[in-house]
């Protein structure tokens, strides 16, 4: 049985018909064409599929689309503003915080929420903040650096 739901994705209301078992990750990727959200394990461990649900990071691979009917979702496609990439995105580029880029959207969403809640995190808080996301390429060192750099950029710009 299919359900008609409305998701507010990156600020736009999107109506979609999905079976009850449709994962939010699949709905975003394949029903709405927002393929920036990636799926690395489908069991909630790697964090590649992290999106912001009403502003909070969630695993979209562990969420049924029907359960978030009417909610606001931000994906990596929604992080950039009208003037270009967000401070977090720019910091990742500047600090070489990505290689293959597959885990990156999950990190970006996680870090966006982290810095919103804690604009000047300590090293420990950064490590804690991104400790639910796997990256197989970077060894994390430049991701940690990018989070601090993003905090600086945000502070400079506000």
């Amino acid at each position: 049985m299919e359900h008609e739901i409305t998701l507010v994705v990156n600020g736009a209301a999107r109506r979609v018909r999905v079976p009850g078992r449709r994962l939010l990750s699949d709905c975003l990727r394949h029903d709405l064409g927002l393929t920036g959200t990636h799926v690395g394990c489908e069991h909630g461990v790697c964090g590649c599929c992290t999106v912001l649900l009403d502003g909070e990071p969630v695993r979209s691979c562990l969420t049924f689309a029907v359960t978030v009917d009417g909610h606001e979702i931000t994906t990596v496609e929604g992080l950039a503003g009208p003037d270009g990439m967000s401070a977090v995105q720019r910091a990742f580029a500047e600090c070489h915080g990505l290689q293959c880029g597959f885990c990156t959207p999950g990190f970006l969403c996680t870090v966006t929420a982290l810095l919103r809640d804690n604009p000047a995190p300590t090293d420990e808080e950064v490590v804690e903040g991104i400790s639910g996301n796997l990256c197989r390429c970077t060894g994390y060192q430049n991701i940690v650096k990018a989070v601090h750099r993003a905090a600086e950029l945000i502070a400079e710009e506000t």
């Binding site: 394949h30 959200t37 070489h96 290689q99 293959c100 197989r136 390429c137």
Partner: protein, 797 residues
């Protein structure tokens, strides 16, 4: 604006796309394509009695179900054995879909195609396969006993056996040299399995238009997949194109090809006349792609009072899993790279590659070298411990000297060519790593230890790569090369090379990799070879284009080509910047036209007066267009090197192991982009720490992989990786025009050796198995406590 970008930490050109959700990975393509799913064997070893698909036929959205019997003869043949070797006397590969017998859990048995993946999996769940379970062979010990066979026609489960001997300069064999040595040690080392584990699994998407096939696949070699697919499907090569889109990590596993799915998905697309896609899920990746590491080594070494090795004799048991599609490259690399930066008196190495009913073993970043370095560096540590010497002193006593290059190790390397090191400076490197970690100032303390590991890595293996460079009439430079990218930043470093060679701003340069529509001749991305091979090929192609540009510009400017240079996309007379012509115009002039499409191209038409009426518009031996193609094919590999050191702390109660500091000195010749090289090292070290402390494939006696998920296979998070301190030494390679060596795999290679040495130093217990968990260290402590009164059992009298 400078265009001398070689050696600069240029920011990556692929990042804006990857940071904004604009990447195009395999599963991002093919919206609306049919989707495939596979019924895979739940048994490690079984005979297929019957396959009953009847219950699946009613699934809404089902399109097709295929078993081996449904495949045409050509499609159903065993997959190719990619790298034959005379020692691989019993090479065996799988069928695309199992025929009669399954030999590991995860082997594909039935392919289902449906409207979407959910429905395809519904159908898979309703297909009943009747198996007659056979006794599985799991683990090296069981395999060599040979009581049960993985392949009925492979006696003793031995697929390959190879002995290589390098006598001493006086003609002594390794065994003789060991016997004649004042000191000898013998010991056994074990390394468990791990795997590449890219965060994007494999995937294939195929479209067929009635005459042409286009295949997208998450691969490390699109050109070779193309040839394999064309052969399997009986298509003329020009009618098949293969594209590696953005690839979410490879680390070796994606160099294997053609995977069953790379044949079956295109075949189904042709048969059904519809687009078909398959995206691997994580469990499939664990049980049906490939693993690596997995060796037992028996070592005997003879040495003198200074720790100088007179003879080394290593016998390796290599677990190849159920099949050998990639030949015996991994144990060959272990055997040859084991010698590291050392001048070993006499060397004998013997390996047996045996079959087990487990996932096949093919290269994972490092490709046999982590095992090799573990063996040699454990050996050096044991010699030092035995003689009561500093571990770095023993290493230094065995180093090849900086004045001894080229240094011939007397063996045949993985490229079939002599193992001759091209350049290096190991004593300087040792000095650097000791300073970086503070070796001499390290204060020994209980449960704190320091370790070191040295390695040499053959990189940039042939046979060749090519590059094509085209400057179009808008002044843009289009670079293409056939090998593929999985996050190494090729779009950036190859553009840096082109910018430097051509004198064009990097913003006007674009790079395409892994697309057979753009470049058809290539080998692939593996063995830390992309920068060396394609980097040099692109530089050579740029030089051709530059020469042509200068020739055409010289005619237009009525100057001597030798007086011209290119800067910022303008060709000008040296010392007279006003006498110049943009490359865009040169590109126009390079292509005599009949028809103009804008003001610029009008300059190249027949009545423009730019061409001499006395010569043919395209001179004999010349070609239209400002473009060039060239290839780089080295005589043999170039040898990078590195030394790592670490300080670890172990918990006195829980035996938890913490890496306090990790230092790397690395030499990959000239650096193209230091930021990217550092990133490669960081990532490699992180994988190495995973392999040393956390990652292993846990099979039970039935051949079930017990930890086939990210919940149980422990890849490091940020919380497990220490800060990595790096320093670079640059000894250019004399073998290639750019003087570069590869860097991709380096970081991972010595980590297990380094961590083992540091734990041993902290605990005073010999560490001969990797990875090591806290509970294993705890058990070793207990054992050592019991054995405290008896002498160490690995030392010969």
């Amino acid at each position: 604006m400078t265009t001398r970008l070689f050696g600069e930490a240029v920011q990556r050109r692929e990042d804006p796309r990857l940071l904004t959700g604009g990447g195009r990975y395999l599963d991002d393509l093919g919206s609306g394509a049919l989707e495939a799913a596979f019924v895979r064997s739940p048994h490690a070893h079984a005979r297929i009695r019957d396959i009953d698909v009847s219950a699946a036929l009613d699934v809404d959205g089902l399109v097709a179900i295929y078993t081996w019997e449904d495949l045409p003869e050509r499609v159903g043949r065993p997959l190719p054995l990619l790298i034959p070797h005379p020692a691989l006397t019993h090479g065996r590969t799988a069928y695309p879909l199992a025929r009669d017998v399954v030999r590991h859990v995860g082997e594909p048995v039935v392919m289902v195609v449906a409207r979407d993946r959910y429905l395809a999996e519904d159908a898979c769940g309703l297909i009943e396969v009747d198996y007659e379970p056979l006794k599985p062979v799991v683990g090296l010990e069981e395999a060599v006993q040979g009581a049960q066979l993985v392949h009925e026609d492979v006696p003793g489960n031995v697929g390959a056996h190879l002995v290589q001997e390098v006598p001493s300069r006086t003609g002594r064999s390794a065994r003789e040299a060991i016997e004649a040595s004042p000191h000898t040690l013998a010991f056994r080392l074990d390394i468990e399995r791990s795997a590449s584990m890219p965060l994007e699994g494999r995937g294939v998407y195929a479209r067929w238009d009635g005459s042409d096939l286009r295949v997208y696949t998450s691969t490390q070699t699109s050109t070779s997949v193309r040839m394999a697919v064309a052969a399997a499907l009986g298509l003329p090569l020009p009618h098949v194109e293969v594209i590696a889109p953005d690839v979410g990590g490879g680390f070796g596993v994606k160099i294997v090809h053609p995977w069953p799915e790379e044949i079956l998905v295109p075949w189904a697309a042709m048969r059904l006349g519809q687009e078909v896609k398959w995206t691997e899920d994580r469990r499939e990746h664990f049980i049906s792609s490939a693993h690596e590491r997995g060796q037992v080594q028996h070592v005997r070494v003879g040495f003198d009072d200074d720790g100088v090795v007179n003879g080394l004799d290593v016998t390796i048991l290599h677990d190849h899993g159920a099949y050998t599609p990639y030949g015996i490259i991994v144990p060959i690399i272990t055997s040859t790279q084991l010698l590291g930066p050392y001048r070993i008196g006499a060397y004998r190495v013997e390996f047996s590659a045996v079959y087990t009913n487990t996932v096949q073993v093919t290269p994972y970043r490092g490709a046999g070298r982590p095992q090799a370095v573990f063996c040699m560096e454990r050996t050096m540590d044991k010699i030092a411990r035995y003689l009561g010497k500093d571990r770095t002193e023993v290493r230094a006593a065995n180093f090849i000297g900086p004045d001894e290059f080229p240094y011939d190790q007397g063996m045949t390397f993985q490229d079939g060519r002599p193992l001759i090191y091209d350049s290096g400076d190991y004593p300087t490197m040792l000095r650097m790593i000791k300073e970086l970690i503070g070796w001499d100032d390290f204060e020994p303390a209980e449960h704190r230890g320091i370790g070191i590991g040295c390695y040499v890595e053959g990189t940039g293996v042939g046979p060749y790569e090519g590059g094509h460079v085209q400057i179009t009439s808008d002044g843009r430079v289009h670079v293409s090369t056939g090998l593929t990218s999985q996050g190494q930043g090729h779009e950036t470093v190859f553009a840096q090379i082109a910018a430097t060679e051509l004198g064009v701003p990097i913003e006007r340069i674009s790079v395409v990799t892994g697309d057979t529509r753009r470049f058809g001749y290539a080998v692939g991305t593996f063995a830390s070879r992309a920068a060396v091979m394609s980097g040099n090929a692109i530089a050579l192609a740029c030089r051709k284009v530059r020469e042509k540009a200068l020739r055409i510009a010289a005619e237009a400017l009525e100057a001597d080509p030798g007086d011209l240079e290119i800067a910022d996309g303008l060709v000008h007379v040296v010392g007279t910047p006003s006498a110049s012509i943009p490359l865009s115009t040169v590109a126009v002039l390079a292509n005599p036209l009949r028809y103009a499409f804008d003001e610029e191209t009008a300059k190249a038409t027949q009545f423009s007066g730019t061409a001499s009426p006395d010569k043919p518009p395209v001179a004999e031996g010349d070609e239209p267009g400002l473009e060039g193609r060239d290839y780089y094919s080295p005589i043999r590999s170039t040898f990078a090197a590195g030394m790592h050191a670490a300080i670890v702390e172990t918990d006195p109660l829980t035996a938890e192991i913490k890496v306090l500091r990790y230092a790397v000195v690395h030499d990959c010749g000239r650096l193209i982009n230091p930021m990217i090289v550092e990133g490669q090292i960081h990532g490699g070290v992180a994988q190495g720490i995973g392999g040393a402390l956390y990652e292993r494939m846990v099979y039970d006696g039935h051949g079930q992989l017990l930890n086939a998920s990210f919940m149980d296979f422990l890849m490091p998070y940020v919380t497990e990786i220490p800060h990595i301190e790096t320093a670079h030494l640059e000894t250019p390679s004399p073998l290639n025009p750019l003087g570069i060596k590869g860097a991709g795999e380096a970081g991972v290679i010595p980590v297990s050796a380094v961590i083992a040495g540091a734990i041993e130093d902290a605990e005073g217990i010999e560490i001969d198995r990797m990875p090591i968990s806290p509970s294993e260290l705890f058990d070793l402590r207990n054992l050592a406590g019991q054995d405290a009164q008896t002498p160490c059992d690995d030392r010969e009298p």
